[in-house]
């Protein structure tokens, strides 16, 4: 009697074991299948995204070249009477002060990318506009003289707006990672930013923050339409 009972228990145990194993096998093959499909789709989108980003870089270069050509034309224009000489000089200086020229110099490069580690609250592991706003403010406190985000120059009207996984700067949307370049006293920029609360908090939430000191950082000019940028302003003489 006892023998039979034991055998019965064993049989049930093996049946359960068999079902469990086949379920697992099925589940794993299924998962592999869907994961492969997802991966394939993912790779396709990544490729498209890279192509589009490359196109964007080329377009930016074209814009920059066009602006350079227009400026060169104005600066090299014939000026028999010499009337325009002082205008040209003042214009170059004003452009320099407004962020309308490409500049280089010592400074820091800050790279930020969203956390790869999943946190309980997904809002914690992504970068918000207020984070970047605060970082920019810290950089300005440290006396930065020229700043760009993803190579878009920060000027007096530059906004930082977060929409989903993107950040809008000067009307253009940028996606993660965010690269902030700042020219100024590099030690001061580096130290003040490294000690700042905003960076400490981002690091706590596993945001990948990298701050590098560099001797030759290139910050490009603002390339938006100037007339539109000041369309509501009238000079008070």
């Amino acid at each position: 009697m006892k023998k039979k009972e034991n055998k019965f228990i064993l049989m049930i145990a093996f049946i359960v074991l068999g079902i469990a194993m086949s379920m697992q096998f099925k589940s794993i093959t299924n998962n592999n299948k869907t994961q492969n499909a997802v991966k394939h789709e993912y790779d396709q989108y990544i490729q498209q995204l890279r192509d589009e980003q490359e196109t964007g870089e080329e377009l930016n270069k074209k814009i920059s070249n066009n602006i350079d050509q227009i400026e060169a034309y104005l600066l090299n224009s014939t000026d028999v009477t010499g009337r325009n000489t002082s205008l040209k000089f003042r214009w170059s200086l004003a452009k320099y002060n407004a962020g309308l020229t490409d500049v280089k110099g010592p400074g820091i490069i800050v790279s930020l990318s969203d956390s790869i580690v999943q946190s309980d609250d997904p809002m914690n592991s992504i970068i918000h506009d207020t984070d970047i706003l605060k970082i920019l403010n810290e950089i300005k406190k440290a006396g930065a003289q020229a700043i760009s985000i993803n190579d878009n120059r920060i000027i007096s009207t530059s906004e930082i707006v977060c929409t989903g996984p993107t950040i809008r700067v000067n009307g253009y949307r940028y996606t993660n990672p965010f690269i902030i370049k700042a020219i100024g006293e590099k030690e001061k920029l580096y130290n003040l930013l490294e000690e700042s609360v905003v960076i400490a908090i981002l690091r706590q939430f596993n945001i990948d923050v990298k701050i590098e000191k560099k001797d030759n950082i290139e910050v490009y000019k603002y390339s938006g339409d100037l007339e539109r940028t000041i369309s509501s302003l009238e000079e008070v003489k």
């Binding site: 004003a94 407004a98 603002y222």
Partner: protein, 230 residues
């Protein structure tokens, strides 16, 4: 008998382990799928944004090409070059914040008679105003330029190296209605001030606001070097 009990025990232990492993594997798989799905959605959104940005860039190129053609049409005409130069100079100086400007806009008043106004409050308002199209902004007479910092110093705020005392008057020039609407959005900045921080806050639309120029010594360029021939 003891041996049989032992063998059943061993089988049960193995079964238990296998079940646990399977549970773990299934759990992991669903978890991973969730992440991949989320990433895929992100990538799709990014792609859309990138395409939209490139379209905007193409429009900008068209604008510049037209501008170039117009200029070339005016070739060797000193007067028309002079006119363009003057215009460009004015635009540049306005963008740099080197001229007094006027226009329609709003005045935001923040009074910390009850709560304390933090630097981040002003930073957020200024950013919100920029996002809704503000073309010139000042806080208590300090023009906000590209390099203007906003620093908290006890009960004061320091901007452009100048100590500012409350109440804070933030002036902005752009379409007053869209500026006001942006600040008054549900769940927006205005609501936060009134409900959470107990800060006195008001917005006034004005037909003509004057915003002073920045002290030009604020804009330093000693670390900058112009880039030639990239």
């Amino acid at each position: 008998v003891n041996r049989k009990i032992l063998s059943i025990t061993v089988v049960c232990i193995i079964l238990g382990i296998i079940l646990a492993v399977q549970y773990r594997s299934v759990y992991n798989n669903t978890y991973l799928e969730g992440i991949e799905g989320k990433r895929l959605e992100d990538i799709k959104t990014q792609l859309l944004m990138e395409k939209q940005k490139n379209d905007d860039l193409r429009l900008r190129i068209e604008e510049l090409e037209t501008q170039k053609e117009e200029l070339e049409g005016a070739y060797s005409n000193t007067t028309s070059v002079e006119k363009t130069l003057k215009k460009e100079l004015d635009y540049s100086r306005m963008i740099a914040g080197l001229t007094d400007v006027k226009g329609a806009g709003i005045v935001v008043t923040l009074d910390n008679s009850v709560g304390l106004v933090a630097d981040s409050d002003i930073l957020n308002i200024v950013n919100e105003l920029r996002a809704s199209g503000a073309q010139a902004i000042s806080v208590n007479g300090q023009r906000i330029v590209a390099v203007s910092e906003i620093r908290e110093a006890g009960r004061y705020i320091v901007i452009n190296g100048n100590k500012l005392m409350p109440p804070y008057y933030i002036k902005a020039i752009a379409d007053p209605v869209s500026l006001k609407n942006a600040l008054n959005l549900v769940g927006g900045i205005a609501e936060n001030f009134q409900e959470m921080y107990n800060i006195k806050y008001s917005i006034e639309m004005v037909d003509e606001i004057v915003i002073p120029k920045v002290d030009s010594s604020i804009i330093k360029t000693n670390y900058l070097e112009p880039m030639k021939n990239k």
